[in-house]
């Protein structure tokens, strides 16, 4: 990578700081004219050592830490961590708490896709899209703020339940926001579809076929845009997703346009899930009475064993591998983020494209360096 093969070639370093990037990483591109001949990613600029930190914190102290793996998907990170501990310690969660978790996690998917779509717009010079989505995202964040008390890093889940019940007036507020948001998502779709420049730049660009995507280990919207119906909520259902009606959004083309369409459709599907959950949510306690664990469990010993728990993050398959040795701290916690394989798949996707398409392709994958580095 470091050696240029001829005088007509040039190496361009995108990053570690670049407006196109969702966090600091370095993309080294070897160019011949405008064409990308070789690409290579360097990580580590935002490595936080989360896995080592988790080994030195008690189980309860770990919850705010996993929030900070990636602020956009804090709720699904928590679900992976708390769900893994619940499996290890065999903790039951009451149905009402499970519904609340589903509602908040789908809201989290909604705001992540809103920012992902908007950021992608900003990367390709469609900055008004960013202005639109960031405005709507703030409404969704206010809904999450109402329940959890925080806009982005929530620290809301607890082992065997959730911290707080839904506040009064939450349901009405959600339905009001959704009436508006549904119209706005239709508007985004019209804006994208009617934009000649966007279609010229993105149709048929950065194409992943189903076989290649499977081979690269990609999951989430980039995979579903190729037509593979792979969703952990369906394949290995957790919480109450089995009782809820939703479909896995797929597209056939596998190009940038298909990825955006999948995200827009998933936002509609998330709103549908939340509305169902609000209709179906039963009354009941947030924690079981006889549960050893509750809101505050500063010292909590978890039986020895290991577990791999998977959830569907907005970006794809999120997993948490936890090993317990019977003490009050995890012996090992491995975060398997969805962005890690997605970013790894970026160089092969970029080779052969032109320099002008790099930002569009990278943006459409919706990466997050913070999560890849941990």
């Amino acid at each position: 990578m470091d050696e240029m093969l001829s005088s007509s070639e040039m190496i361009v370093h995108l990053g570690p700081q670049h407006p196109m990037q969702p966090g600091p990483f370095r993309l080294n591109l070897r160019l011949k004219g405008e064409t990308v001949m070789d690409a290579d990613i360097e990580l580590g600029f935002i490595h936080k050592g989360i896995e080592k930190i988790l080994e030195n914190k008690t189980y309860l102290q770990g919850i705010p830490i996993v929030d900070r793996i990636c602020y956009l998907t804090a709720m699904t990170n928590e679900e992976a961590y708390v769900g893994a501990v619940e499996k290890l310690a065999d903790i039951e969660v009451p149905e009402r708490s499970q519904y609340i978790r589903v509602i908040i996690e789908e809201l989290s998917r909604l705001q992540s896709h809103l920012l992902g779509t908007g950021e992608f717009g900003a990367f390709i010079g469609f900055v008004s899209m960013f202005m639109y989505t960031i405005r709507e995202r703030e409404d969704v964040l206010s809904l999450m703020d109402m329940v959890t008390g925080a806009r982005i890093t929530h620290t809301f889940l607890r082992f065997g339940g959730v911290q707080d019940d839904l506040p009064d007036g939450f349901e009405d507020k959600v339905r009001t926001v959704f009436i508006d948001l549904k119209q706005k998502i239709d508007m985004y779709e019209t804006l994208f579809n009617s934009d000649e420049i966007y279609r010229t730049r993105c149709e048929g660009v950065g194409v992943l076929t189903a076989d290649v995507a499977k081979n690269l280990g990609v999951s989430g919207p980039p995979l579903r845009a190729t037509g593979v119906s792979f969703d952990i909520r369906k394949d290995e259902p957790y919480l109450v997703y089995n009782d809820l009606d939703f479909k896995v959004c797929t597209q056939k083309d596998g190009d940038i346009v298909a990825r955006i369409v999948v995200r827009l459709n998933e936002m509609r599907e998330s709103m549908y899930i939340i509305e169902q959950a609000l209709d179906q949510i039963p009354d009941g306690p947030l924690f079981f009475e006889d549960s050893l664990y509750g809101r505050r469990t500063p010292v909590m010993r978890v039986p020895a064993g290991d577990v791999f728990h998977r959830v569907e993050d907005p970006r794809g398959e999120m997993g948490m591998y936890m090993v317990s040795d019977g003490s009050d701290k995890p012996y090992r916690a491995k975060v398997r983020g969805p962005v890690y394989p997605t970013m790894q798949a970026l160089p092969p996707l970029l080779i052969g494209t032109t320099m002008a398409d790099v930002a569009a392709i990278a943006g459409s994958m919706d990466g997050c360096t913070s999560e890849a580095d941990r």
């Binding site: 080592k52 081979n215 280990g217 591998y321 491995k334 398997r336 790894q344 580095d373």
Partner: protein, 161 residues
Amino acid sequence: MNAQDIIDSLMKSFTGTISNAEVVSDIRVSAYLDKEREESVKTVCQYLKDELGFDHLSNETAVDYIQKGEIEVIYHIASYDHPVLLTLKVRLPRDAPVIESIVPVYWNANWYEREIYELFGVKYTNHPDLRQLILPDDMLGDWPLRKDYEGFPNRTANNLV
């Protein structure tokens, strides 16, 4: 294909190599691989991919069991077509952990193996590009996720002060 069939098929094809195979639940199976024979990890993974439809490497990681003097490398292999997830574990001696790379079978193992190499010091043979991924160059050899890592102030931190 259900979980029991997968275990039976594995046990039949790799008698003596696969041990402790068990069905954890309908969609989870786990097995240990005794790494005695050359290239056995890659062979098993190739078999899983070609014959049993395990075409998705979900996760690869390692755990340092310092008391037992072992480092365990763990593969979570899933499929895009069926819901069963296989946990395959390989025990390696802690003082000289060497294992065959599975990058030729699962392309996305590349970064996972580079990460395990820099954090645990597990050497992968036949890896196309074994160098550090997220740590700085001068931390290579510290193996920070091993249990006997000193933490602060360590060699690297002293250099900074």
